[in-house]
């Protein structure tokens, strides 16, 4: 038997893929994922349930770090390294530093979110076994794909094929690893 990455079932509508994901989960499979042309509502409650706090927290941490760094640079410049008396204002004139601190805080938050999104999604990853599946390219356009992966303990080609057929998959395909 050739080494398999998994088996994909291709569905035509968002309702079909939601229903299929629900059924597959109830049949006891755990290592499966759905690939859709847009964020199908409700699918994330079936496949990756639970609160998603990592990226928001990362962005918040980025904001705090960015604000601290920006304020520190300004403080170092104006109060420590190159103090200038401007109209008798204090060297650590924090109201004047607020604007740049604010802007840099937002930049750091967005950058943390952007890089965090890529890292959490394991991107860039230019090659993936799924790209070898002939119908997979339509998952970025007009089809909804579910892949049950070979790492699942109850992975069995024939029973999965039967399950996909019963769920009304338009096409079923084995994906080599």
């Amino acid at each position: 038997m050739t080494n398999l990455f998994g088996i994909i079932g291709v569905f035509r509508t968002p309702d079909a893929v939601r229903n299929a994901a629900e059924q597959i989960r109830q049949s006891g499979y755990r290592a499966f994922d759905a690939y859709t042309p847009y964020a199908v509502e409700g699918l994330d409650r079936i496949i990756h349930p639970g609160p998603k706090v990592f990226l928001p927290l990362l962005m918040f941490a980025g904001a705090v770090a960015g604000a601290a760094l920006a304020y520190w640079i300004q403080y170092w410049d104006e109060a420590v390294s190159y103090p200038l008396n401007v109209g008798g204002r204090p060297y650590n004139s924090w109201p004047a530093f607020a604007v740049s601190t604010f802007e840099f805080m937002l930049l750091a938050a967005v950058a943390a979110g952007f890089l965090g999104m890529l890292a959490a999604s394991r991107l860039p990853q230019l090659y993936h076994p799924l790209f070898d599946a002939r119908t997979f390219e339509r998952a970025s356009r007009d089809r909804f794909v579910i892949c049950i992966e070979a790492t699942d303990p109850s992975f069995d080609v024939d029973s999965i094929r039967a399950l996909f057929e019963q769920l009304g998959a338009e096409r079923i395909e084995e994906v080599p690893a």
Binding site: A34, P37, Y38, A39, Q74, V99, G116, S121, L126, S140
Partner: protein
């Protein structure tokens, strides 16, 4: 579902044409990116853009060799076209972010098909804005002195100056806009990658899409980050344009020293940015035959945003007049009377007509339905806002406190070349976006199609 700005359409009115499907949407939009030959109108537009861009390079060369004396800037009017156009360009860019980020937060369905046009517009306009102050520096090669870095001279930039805040804002704004744009376009690049037929395009878009697969976790990450980014971008852009206002408000010049400037500038950004987006959307819809995706619904909503922007601007104009007329400062009064009846009066009054009086036509649904009228009104607003930015930059300096110090600004040919050249840079970048990136957010329009189907 939010039905903001579209209350006179029936609730079941389609946002996109009812016969648009997932398949036809992806193919229609991606075909425009993947076609091997661009249509004639694209080449005509691109050649015009490149010609204007050449003007920019010639202008830059002449300016860098001779210094800014080639422009009309002189004492007392040391801030001329370059600074006014910096404000103008950054306002256009800010308007793009407003349409894209603010209306994402309100979940307005009309935003989904137009946000990519708005973002492409802002990414094309922001470099033009960034170029203006650099050209205006007497020694443009030293612009990097604005960075707080540890130099051998031990000299640091003055962090308390609004001009430095402005530099920080613009730099952060451009970097954030690029990341915001890329986060949104990533799934669409994957669609283009999967539809590409030739090897070179498959490789190009394959690299750009970074291997996006559209798995549940990837969508989750993308949606969460994109939503937070939108919530950050909207106040960010308000702060950026407010800081541009502080450049003026921080000066003691009559007509500038006014606390209303930050919101006033922002109102101008809303109206002029929306106006450019409407013009570009009409161009894209006609040129790429996207009548099914960009419908009357979108123009109706954007026209109303523009009308609101015009009313907000009108409010700012009232305060601009109220301050000097009510106050007791003679210099403020004199300067304001000059605007009303003196040398800049033709600019002043024609600008009020273009940005406040004529846009009131948008109250009529028939006007909002006519693409020709919308295009003309938007064009008038863009020109009017340019006049406005230029007028208050120069008029205040022309009539400063000391009458012996008064003088007028006369632009030279090179001033106009800088304007034409940056328009060339803007159009060149926009035409490249139009040719090489999906100009409609596919992932979000798919959600609209899904919503309409399930209704």
């Amino acid at each position: 579902m939010a039905v903001t700005l579209t209350n006179e359409l029936p609730p079941e009115a389609p946002v996109v044409a009812p016969d648009l499907t997932l398949t036809s949407l992806s193919e229609e939009v991606s075909d425009r990116v993947l076609m091997s030959r661009a249509p004639l109108w694209w080449w005509v537009g691109f050649l015009i853009s490149i010609t204007l861009l050449t003007v920019l390079f010639i202008q830059l060369g002449w300016l860098f060799i001779n210094g800014i004396g080639v422009w009309g800037v002189e004492i007392p009017v040391a801030w001329g076209f370059a600074i006014a156009e910096y404000v103008w360009w950054i306002a256009l860019a800010s308007g793009g972010t407003i349409v894209s980020a603010l209306f994402f937060l309100t979940r307005s369905p009309w935003r989904s098909a137009t946000n990519r046009i708005a973002e492409s517009m802002l990414l094309s306009a922001a470099p033009c804005a960034g170029l203006m102050p650099i050209m205006h520096l007497g020694r443009p090669g030293l612009f990097y002195w604005l960075f707080p870095y540890s130099s051998v001279m031990g000299v640091w930039p003055q962090m308390r100056s609004p001009l430095l805040w402005d530099f920080v804002c613009l730099l952060c704004y451009i970097l954030m806009s690029i990341m915001y744009y890329y986060s949104g376009i990533l799934p669409d690049l994957a669609t283009v990658r999967d539809l590409a037929k030739t090897r070179s395009k498959q490789i190009l878009y394959g690299i750009l899409a970074l291997g996006w697969r559209g798995s549940v976790a990837q969508w989750q990450n993308q949606r969460v980050v994109y939503a937070i980014m939108s919530a950050i971008m909207a106040p960010m852009v308000i702060s950026v344009h407010s800081v541009v206002g502080l450049d003026y408000a921080g000066g003691l010049t009559p007509g500038w020293h006014d606390t209303q400037f930050p919101p006033y500038f922002f109102f101008g950004a809303v109206i002029s940015g929306t106006a450019v987006i409407i013009m570009l959307t009409i161009l894209v819809r006609w040129g790429y035959s996207l009548q099914k995706v960009l419908t009357e619904y979108h123009f109706n909503a954007m026209a109303k945003v523009m009308l609101v922007g015009s009313l907000m601007l009108c409010y700012a104009y009232v305060w601009e007049a109220f301050g000097p007329l009510y106050g007791s400062d003679v210099a403020d009064k004199t300067e304001f009377y000059q605007r009303l009846f003196g040398f800049p009066a033709p600019l002043f009054w024609s600008e009020k007509i273009l940005t406040v009086v004529i846009p009131q036509l948008l109250w009529f649904p028939a006007v909002r339905r006519s693409q020709l009228l919308l295009f003309l009104i938007s064009g008038g607003i863009v020109v009017g806002m340019w006049q406005e930015r230029f007028m208050f930059t120069s008029a205040s300096l022309e009539h400063n406190y000391m009458p012996s110090y008064w003088g007028y600004f006369y632009p030279t040919l090179w001033d106009w070349a800088a304007l034409a050249g940056t328009i060339g840079l803007f159009l060149t970048l926009f035409f490249l976006f139009l040719r090489f990136a999906p100009i409609v957010s596919l992932a979000e329009v798919r959600e609209i199609i899904d919503e309409e189907r399930s209704r």
